[in-house]
Amino acid sequence: MATELTFDAIRLPPECMALRKEVRAFIAKEIDAGSLDPHGGGIDGAYSADFSRKVGAKGWIGMTWPKTYGGHERSFLERYVVTEEFRVANAPVRLHFVADRQSGPMILKYGSERIKADILPRICRGEVCFAIGMSEPNSGSDLFAARTKATKSKDGWRVNGSKIWTSNAHQAHYLIGLFRTSPPTKENRRHGLTQFVVDMKTPGITVNPVYQMTGAHDFNEVVFEDAFMPDDHVLGEVDGAWKQATSELAYERSGPERFLETFYVLTELVRVLGERPDTRGAEGIGRLVAQVHALRRMSVSVAGMLHAGKEPVVEAAIVKDVGTIWEQKLPHKARDLAAFTAPETANRATFEERLSYATMIAPKLTIQGGTTEILRGIIARGLGLR
């Protein structure tokens, strides 16, 4: 068939099962100690230097990276287990999550030796928070329209311009920025952009908050005024960032965080409907469980392919497309299904509180990290339609 989609059935190996037990025991201990609220999940409190350091000490950051750089040379499937257990437990992993998932691997692949030796071990210890500086006021999904400029100077570059919607920037120690180093060419409009590792302490960088509709502070505007970047902070090829951005995205797109971000809604729905729901409630739960099960099996399958050294770009885009649409609909579906539960039901208040929060954050799920429209374009290309 011309359009073969591969989703081999992966059985997680025994070491993953042992690790899962270990992670759950760790989480249980942290819940007892009060450093983790399993019914939390808001972004307030999700950033915890203390928690990230403990996770680092456990060896659960940079799990797949070489030991030379502080990593643990474990498998991608083991990392998968840690990610999903933390996600479902609402663990406060905000400090290290982006660094672990994408900034670290990017540096490992394209960073200068000095940057690798300096930053990667600190990421692994849970000490370093990364932000991603891609979007600009006039460049969102169309990244190649970026205009923030890096101009060559002696021993480095001077950056001017601004990035926006930058999650974590106010807490981040570093940011991976996409800057224009040359104009695009007639033949290739993607030419001329370069990635840099930006130290957020650099003079000339200002971070301004952009509050979200929930009232939370996650987004920022990051302004660069003649900020200096040393040469060895360049990631990969000057003017060639477009070549570096594709295969890594499979990791970013297909992980469990792409359908489990509002999972607590499902858990609380099951609780609010009780042990013996009516037919409507049972059918509703059954369908949602079937859907999330299918998503997880798709995602685990992609993890297995990545583990085997394949590059399932289309399959990964499909996981994010189908997964984020599902998690976005989940709060609305749960609201429908709980419509007739009695107000005095035990966890009704928790359910409603979690539902309100999930309803408000749901719109972002199909925007962050690649919009539905962009993903469907990638899938269409993979199908040979463009």
């Binding site: 989609l5 469980v289 099960h293």
Partner: protein
């Protein structure tokens, strides 16, 4: 898929030669069926799940599922899944499998047959796929004093109604009145009515996943060839996004059905983990069938709505297969009831079991 699977490759070769949807659709008559069936039987594919000692090919469970996925890609209108399931059911009880097409019953939750103390079988079932035309029927029946048995009956022992599914394939009411089985044996401890439904659900889900792959392929090819407004319709973003959604549905189906087949092939027992896998597969694949068929028809427009085009061979079977061995709603109630009974905090451990 696991295209290295030799058994599935044999099925694909035979079906490509003798049951190609284009030729079959053009021919209209059923003359293709006998040679295609004979070739499948000759290759041992119809009794793939029967050990050699019981008259079958002794292939692995995973091989049989791979054959079903291949058959789904051809939307093959032959009782291949039914005969495979019947053979599997018989062999679970140690009954040798006969040659020829078989049906397998019951195919719907809640329907039962009773085996009397005198050894005769009675009961009425609503919708048995391919009962008409089957030489034998393999059944799971409750014994009058308790317990469950597997029985093999010559089709002449049953009263079989006329009737077709919306795919045009036989779907028949079947009744037995003190019928004499050709063979009866007690079912093993792990085989009950639900186990048969789960196995049937996984088999149908696998065929449906194959059919969804096929309509994705068909719709993508059509969009690349069909020109409107001076360019292939594949170049229109609205069409691209519809096809991307179809790919998502096909992907979910392939993953869910593949996972269920793998779970059954490795579990050995029909426990709660298999219930989750097979029920979830039938639910999710059934949903994908509805969504996916709608998108494929939208992309193909009027031509896809004709008898002349092959699309209906796939979409009508996708719709029909949703109802065999438990539809989405039936399994969802069952799965939801189980999840609720285990409690909210049992949900994640259940999902993350493998």
């Amino acid at each position: 898929m696991e295209s290295e699977n030799l058994v599935a490759a044999a099925a694909t070769r035979i079906l490509g030669d003798l049951a190609d949807p284009h030729s079959v659709n053009r021919a209209r008559a059923d003359a293709w069926k006998a040679p295609a069936w004979a070739a499948l039987e000759e290759a041992g594919l119809t009794l793939a799940w029967v050990p050699e000692g019981l008259g079958g090919a002794g292939a692995e469970l995973s091989d049989g599922f791979a054959v079903l996925r291949a058959a789904g890609r051809f939307a093959v209108a032959l009782p291949l899944a039914e005969t495979l399931l019947a053979g599997w059911l018989l062999s679970k009880a140690g009954i040798p499998a006969p040659q020829g097409a078989m049906a397998c019953a019951p195919a719907r939750e809640g329907e039962t047959l009773t085996l009397s103390g005198d050894g005769t079988l009675s009961g009425t079932l609503r919708s048995i796929p391919f009962a008409k035309g089957a030489r034998h029927i393999a059944v799971l029946a409750g014994r009058q004093g308790g317990g469950v048995s597997v029985a093999l009956l010559d089709a002449s022992q049953a009263h079989i109604d006329d009737g077709n599914s919306i795919a045009g394939d036989p779907l028949n009411g079947v009744s037995f009145h003190a019928a004499r089985p050709a063979a009866v044996k007690d079912a093993p401890a792990d085989l009950d009515g639900q186990a048969l439904q789960l196995m049937g659900a996984a088999a149908r889900a696998t065929q449906m996943a194959g059919a969804l792959e096929a309509i994705l392929d068909l719709a993508v090819n059509y969009a690349n060839e069909r020109v409107a407004f001076a360019r292939p319709i594949a170049k229109f973003q609205a069409v691209q996004h519809n096809l991307a959604r179809l790919a998502g549905e096909a992907a979910a189906a392939v993953a869910a059905a593949g996972s269920a087949a793998d779970a059954i092939a490795h579990a050995g027992v029909f426990d709660e983990a298999v219930l989750l896998e097979a029920a979830a597969a039938k639910i999710r694949v059934g949903e994908a069938a509805g969504e996916g068929a709608a998108i494929a028809h939208q992309v193909l427009g009027a031509i896809g709505f004709t008898q002349e085009h092959t699309l209906h061979r796939f979409t009508r079977r996708l719709w029909a297969w949703r109802d065999d061995f438990g539809n989405e709603s039936a399994w969802a109630v069952k799965l939801g009831t189980l999840v609720a009974a285990k409690g909210a905090d049992g949900l994640w451990p259940m999902l993350a079991a493998r």
